[in-house]
């Protein structure tokens, strides 16, 4: 490429000078910081590097989605923490969407009290700090009865201030077939459903989309039965110090889940409301004129159009929720920040390395969501034009 081309891309002499100054400034800053850090770290006898990742951690983490023992390494700690973060984030994303959708629809409903209730919820939830909400939910979770007087039924579920005890599926050797078969059936059912719907919109006739759903459910049950009922159910029983068997959800997880869901839900409600209001009023009136009832008008006409406005800001809410799950440290839920930027940092004293890894994890989450959103926006733009 010609030299002139380079100069032009760099914005001429002035542009080149400005950018050169920026680069020089950044490099000098980096050198200065590096020098300071080097001196300080040497003077304080702090270890550097990532050797500690292979060392034994020595502490216990109660909630671990993969096997974990105190004798495992810090690398394993990172994995356990990251999975716990992802777990609460996914749970929060699902429920906050449901809450947000409900509250958003209620905010534009015809019912005055429904509107009032939804508005009250939104204005309280989004105008108080999340850390405080987490603490409040945590104190609420502890108000549940102690194990001796637990609510629930033996062999089904228990609600106590030590957490919620639920039945758990035990997987045997054939479980994989059942799971993948079931997933395949659901995916096929979804495609079928959308195919039927398309046929209906284009030709006005065709099978109901509900057949697709029926296929999904039927396929799942079939996969389950054909592989010979591979799953047993492990149920919670009262015994000894508390309960045995089943799956336990700790109060910290419940509190964090609830707080993240209700906090983010209030923002999603506003997004949904905005999206619904952005759909031209005539659309709703037209839908009712052709004989659809309110629920059908909402589901078939208004929501699909509103989705295009709703989805992009929704993604940034999901991202916020994931980042906000780092507040778990306040109530001791073992998320990535708590176990890695908390306990591990305290044990190793290597603040720079541990914090850098934690930040890298969140950055990776955020960049992948951004990439997905760019893809989605491009796709929906094409879709909008082609319609």
């Amino acid at each position: 490429m010609a030299r002139g081309g380079f100069m032009q891309r760099m914005g001429g002499v002035r542009g080149l000078a400005a950018q050169g100054a920026l680069v020089l400034g950044l490099v000098l800053l980096a050198v200065w910081l590096n020098h300071n850090a080097g001196t300080n770290i040497a003077a304080r006898g702090i270890a550097t590097g990532y050797d500690f990742m292979g060392r034994e951690a020595g502490f216990n983490i109660d909630q671990h989605l993969v096997d974990y023992e105190p004798t495992d390494t810090y690398t394993r700690v990172f994995l356990v923490g990251a999975l716990n973060t992802i777990l609460v984030a996914v749970m929060g994303i699902v429920t906050s969407t449901i809450i947000g959708l409900t509250a958003g629809v209620m905010r534009v409903s015809k019912n005055y009290l429904g509107r009032l209730l939804a508005t009250t919820y939104v204005e309280i939830a989004r105008n108080t700090p999340l850390p405080v909400q987490i603490l409040v939910w945590y104190n609420l979770a502890l108000l549940a009865p102690p194990p001796r007087t637990a609510w629930g039924a033996d062999g089904l579920f228990f609600l106590t201030n030590r957490g919620v005890y639920l039945p758990q599926f035990n997987l045997n050797g054939l479980a994989d077939f059942a799971i993948w078969g079931g997933i395949a059936a659901i995916v096929a059912g979804l495609f079928l459903s959308s195919h039927f719907r398309k046929q209906r919109t284009e030709h006005g006739t065709g099978a109901s989309p509900n057949w697709g759903w029926a296929f999904a459910i039927g396929g799942f049950v079939l996969a389950y039965l054909l592989t010979g009922n591979p799953t047993g159910i492990d149920v919670p029983h009262k015994s000894g110090f508390g309960f045995t068997g089943g799956f336990t959800m700790s109060p910290a997880l419940m509190a964090l889940w609830a707080a993240l869901s209700f906090y983010t839900g209030s923002f999603i409600a506003e997004i949904v409301r905005g999206g619904l209001q952005a759909v031209a009023k005539g659309q709703g009136e037209a839908a009712r004129a052709v004989g659809l009832n309110d629920a059908q008008a909402l589901r078939l006409v208004i929501l699909p159009q509103a989705m295009r406005v709703i989805v992009p800001p929704l993604a940034s809410q999901y991202l916020n929720l994931t980042k906000n799950s780092s507040l778990a440290v306040i109530i001791g839920y073992p998320d990535l920040v708590a176990v890695f930027a908390g306990t591990s940092l305290n044990q190793t004293g290597q603040a720079i390395e541990t914090l850098a890894l934690v930040m890298l994890f969140y950055l990776a989450c955020s960049l992948s969501v951004s990439a997905f959103m760019n893809w989605y926006n491009a796709r929906s733009a094409v879709w909008a034009v082609s319609r």
Partner: protein
């Protein structure tokens, strides 16, 4: 789908039919909502007002079974100003006046352009008044605290973040590849990580990167980090405003013979800022709420002061009162700001959704 507007002639009964008992589902919803609402409001009122105790030196003074607000009233001074010396509380008041002057150019929108300088001047003045600045007796930042600190950190963060955010927003729209790349990189990295990790950085990592012997005050380190953090969000708020300025404005200004700097400074930027003020206010609301996180690095804003009160024998076990109070303080501030920002949106006719908040 929008709410039915009662026509002037509707009677109360007609309104109720339409808004409360439109259908069977509606009626059920109405009844459930009414019961829930009444139950909640009554219980809250009973606990917080009717059966509450308001004064006393320890929790023993609370005998009525309701909320024990005595913890707040006995420590009101800490709640408002932290451990600021009693004889110098007037300086806190003066600092608040300075901060009020700092936000004037945002609230009163008919002020001349130079008034924008009031913002940083007000913030610096308030910090100077609080700290002493070698004129007044020095009060180190460990004594600062309470709601005052939330306001100070929130406003300082927002006001100093704005110019950085403007530069970053321009950088992001720039044609110069390195500047553009740097701006995008900075914005996306900062927005991609939780504030709590950045605060940990400020408290344990930043001291390592300073020259040996140089000792930046803990609050100042936190302020620097909060400012950088919010500048990324400010950049996005301003970027929305920049995009909304019609292209014709720029062309018209060029045809009048104004240069690039003049066009930007006198034509584009003022309009962009005006458009993005609601978004900026919303970013500020988010930032203000986030100041409650400072407790995790042992800076004693209002949440920290309350949690300290809970570790005094006199008030042990009053978590509910403490957290409800903090939530109420933030709610009053954030709700009124969000209302104000919504009214600004209506005035300008542009809707900037309050969905993008620092997290």
């Amino acid at each position: 789908m929008s709410a039915a507007r009662p026509a002037p002639t509707t009677t109360a009964w007609q309104w109720a039919r339409l808004n409360l008992f439109g259908s069977i589902a509606d009626s059920v919803l109405t009844v459930v909502a009414a019961v829930l609402f009444a139950w909640f409001v009554w219980n809250a009122f009973d606990w917080a007002i009717l059966r509450a105790d308001w004064f006393g030196e320890t929790k023993e003074a609370c005998k009525s079974g309701g909320a024990c607000w005595a913890m707040i009233t006995a420590r009101w001074q800490q709640v408002v100003a932290g451990y600021y010396p009693e004889a110098h509380l007037w300086r806190v008041a003066l600092a608040m006046v300075c901060l009020a002057i700092a936000v004037l150019p945002v609230i009163k929108r008919d002020m001349p352009a130079w008034a924008a300088l009031l913002a940083p001047a007000g913030v610096i003045a308030s910090i100077a008044v609080l700290g002493g600045a070698n004129i007044l007796p020095s009060v180190p930042t460990d004594y600062w605290g309470g709601i005052m600190l939330n306001v100070l950190v929130g406003l300082t963060g927002a006001i100093f973040a704005l110019p950085i955010g403007i530069l970053l927003a321009f950088g992001r729209r720039s044609d110069l590849p390195i500047i553009k790349g740097f701006s995008i990189g900075f914005i996306e990295i900062v927005r991609g990580v939780p504030l709590i990790t950045l605060l940990f950085m400020s408290s344990v990592v930043l001291p390592l990167f300073l020259p040996t012997g140089m000792n930046l005050d803990k609050l100042m380190r936190a302020l620097a980090v909060v400012t950088l953090f919010s500048s990324a969000y400010m950049a996005e708020a301003v970027r929305g405003g920049l995009a909304a300025v019609p292209k014709g404005q720029r062309e018209a200004s060029h045809s009048l013979g104004l240069g690039l700097l003049q066009t930007t400074g006198l034509v584009v930027l003022p309009q962009a800022i005006r458009i993005s003020i609601p978004a900026i206010v919303n970013t500020f609301i988010g930032l203000f709420k986030d100041t409650s996180l400072l407790y995790v690095i042992a800076i004693l804003e209002v949440t920290g002061v309350i949690r300290q009160a809970l570790s005094d024998f006199a008030w042990l076990g009053l978590e509910n009162e403490g957290y409800v109070f903090v939530a109420f303080v933030f709610w009053v501030a954030c709700f009124s700001m969000s209302r104000w920002s919504a009214s600004l949106e209506q005035q300008s006719g542009k809707t900037v959704k309050r969905v993008e908040e620092p997290a």
